[in-house]
């Protein structure tokens, strides 16, 4: 599998929140070679099942990366121009002069977010404030009647941003959040192809993370896994994002610790990384991680959940930048961890009273 091409294709697909169909269908094709079954839940998350070799009833591990991207909607149509509305998460400060795609009933139209020439912006009060949504208009270059006939309020709008390759095996484009992690799941499935594993693997491409972690909650409820790994992008160091609490490109896998995440499961992943002589970057979270892990953990009777990440620069822009090696490393770590999972793992990470197991009552992360 060519990971870079896979990632580029993935990010170029259209799939804003609640409209993930194209991504889901592409992944069904791509993952068909790796898995035994597919299911789709009520939210539109793709649940794919790769059966393990252990005796039934087999334990289940769920890998969850969200396939939705941040997107926009047509909010109004006036004189052939479109006014936009955010679905969630778009940084409107970057929109001036950018290209967008309008996905209508009849097909896709090309649009441009009209920028303001200095001659006019000077007259309108200068350039010291970013425009808000009310001031942004999309120009399709089409006659007003044609726009009125083709475009409908509520049609989705995405960034027109083909993926580009940068030096040093990096790729920039839209929707790296979180398709880079979807690609890491693909990489994991690819590694597992030739390996034996006892547990069933549920690879989930979740819907609607960017609206409120909804898809993962529904998928976790349906799958009822014994363990879950949520995958999401992490802020990579870049201009304006400094400090050693942030990973650099090349720092993956990023692993989260804190109340949202299970110490015992984390230790399992950390041990696996050690065996592989793979370094990891640790991020602390005092509460909500803002990722699918937050909703998965409290599904049903509670699910031990870990959070792995890929460092991304310029998050929530059409030039999100990732390093291919980071994606591969996350996929490899998960595959290796899954191969090592035995039936006893759940027992190993369960809390035990001190008198039963004096040595390890905390199950703490071993550093």
């Amino acid at each position: 599998m060519d990971l870079k091409e896979h990632l580029k294709t993935l990010t170029e697909l259209t799939g804003p929140q609640g409209h993930e169909e194209a991504v889901r269908h592409y992944l069904r094709e791509q993952w068909a070679a790796y898995v035994d079954e597919f299911e789709v839940d009520g939210f539109g998350s793709l649940i794919s099942i790769k059966r393990g070799t252990g005796p039934e009833p087999r334990k289940k591990i769920m890998l969850c990366a969200h396939m939705d991207e941040i997107g926009m909607l047509v909010a109004d149509i006036r004189n052939g121009y479109l006014r936009l509305s955010d679905i969630w998460g778009i940084d409107e400060r970057i929109l001036l002069g950018k290209l967008v795609l309008i996905h209508t009933r009849g097909g896709t139209l090309k649009g441009l977010v009209a920028s303001v020439p200095p001659h006019i912006s000077n007259a309108k009060g200068g350039t010291d404030a970013y425009p808000d949504w009310e001031e942004l208009w999309v120009d399709l270059g089409l006659p007003a009647e044609e726009v009125a006939a083709k475009v409908r309020i509520g049609d989705i709008v995405t960034m027109d941003a083909p993926a580009i390759e940068l030096m040093g095996d990096k790729v920039a484009g839209k929707a790296m959040d979180d398709r880079a992690c979807v690609a890491a799941v693909t990489a994991c499935l690819d590694y597992l192809k030739s390996r034996k594993h006892e547990w069933d693997v549920y690879a989930v491409a979740s819907a609607q993370e960017e609206t409120g972690l909804f898809g993962a909650a529904a998928a976790a409820y349906k799958v009822q896994p014994h363990l879950a790994i949520a995958l999401d992008v992490a802020f990579a160091q870049q201009p304006g994002v400094n400090g050693d609490e942030y990973p650099k490109h090349g720092g993956a896998p990023v692993i989260g610790i804190g109340p949202n995440l299970h110490d015992g499961l984390n230790k399992g992943l950390q041990d696996t990384a050690k065996q592989l002589e793979m370094s990891m970057f640790t991020e602390t979270y005092t509460g909500a991680t803002g990722t699918d892990a937050w909703s998965i953990q409290v599904s049903r009777e509670g699910i031990p959940t870990a959070l792995l990440g890929v460092p991304v620069r310029n998050m929530h822009t059409p030039i999100e930048t990732v390093l291919i090696k980071d994606i591969d490393r996350v996929g490899r770590l998960m595959a290796e961890f899954i191969v090592g999972l035995t039936d006893e793992f759940m027992d190993k990470i369960a809390w035990k009273p001190a008198d039963a197991d004096k040595g390890d009552k905390k199950n703490g992360a071993d550093k």
């Binding site: 609640g18 789709v40 009520g42 609206t211 909804f214």
Partner: protein, 343 residues
Amino acid sequence: MKQLIKKLVEAWGPSGYEHHMRELIKEEIKGLYDDMFVDPMGSLICRVGTKTDSNLRIMVAAHMDEIGLMVSHIDRNGFLRFTNIGGLMPSTLNGNRVKFENGVIGTIAVENMWGKMYELPKLDGFYIDVSEGLNGDSGNKNAPIQVGDPAGFHRTFEERGNRLVAKSMDDRIGCAVAIETMRKLKQLGCKHEVYFAFTVQEEVGLRGARPAAHGINPDLGIALDVTGTGDTAKADHMAVALGKGAAIKVRDGGMIVPPAVKNLMVDTAEKHKIPYQLEILNGGTTDAMAIQTAQSGVPSGCISIPCRYVHTVNETVDMVDVQASVDLLAAMLSNPIEGVKPV
């Protein structure tokens, strides 16, 4: 239908205290359902029709509760201080009247009214006067009101041409649309197993619809609720106006409607020549969000009734939109539905 609306909007029932509403609705829907129960949260749930291999289980939710307030303490002077039940706006309070469950009418006043004519305090700058003039207090320490007592706004229903004006159109108008649809289904026939859920505690965070949806576990969820409009003075931009038809939700502050559900509504409206508009609401959400996130996810949408001045005592709706909402919901429920389940 207007008589029904009048009865519903004038009834008392802030969030968590919907029991009068529940009894009122029970009366109105006699003979219109196959089965009825009250769930642990207090939502009134009525089943119409039966599940077969070829139809859907559909939950239709309209919330019975209204915004209101609760007495938080009685101050040194005997005035009632209060906290909000749901989204209470300071700009709507001074001069308003509230009613407690025992019938006591209180008037809301603001501290130092003339001295701070142009200032708008937060909730703690307002108080409720229930004085009776018998005991020398400025307030009334003996009033039969205690800390923790809830109150709703007190205002009559008015009709102005096609426009209906009242408190608590949010969401008694949704309840009216549900009841009227149940009546209409008697004639049209119900093609699905429909659970009409008159939910509680929507205004304090969709707390009724969430467990109700968990219990029903439907294939499709439809909320009936009001939405804002962009047709008032200097309103935030919004392409929804009174009188232009039922508003089919695309997105609001809590959810995005799956395209399959949105298109089902649009296609049904177009096929039956029912006036409709598409709604993008930037803040707030409805019971549809709670249904959507139940169990392993439920494709859900919302038929919104455009409403001016939401969360004031002058919530204004247009009969054209109300009728269109009834027609649209009835048309959906009396016809086969396909393709809402994601594949």
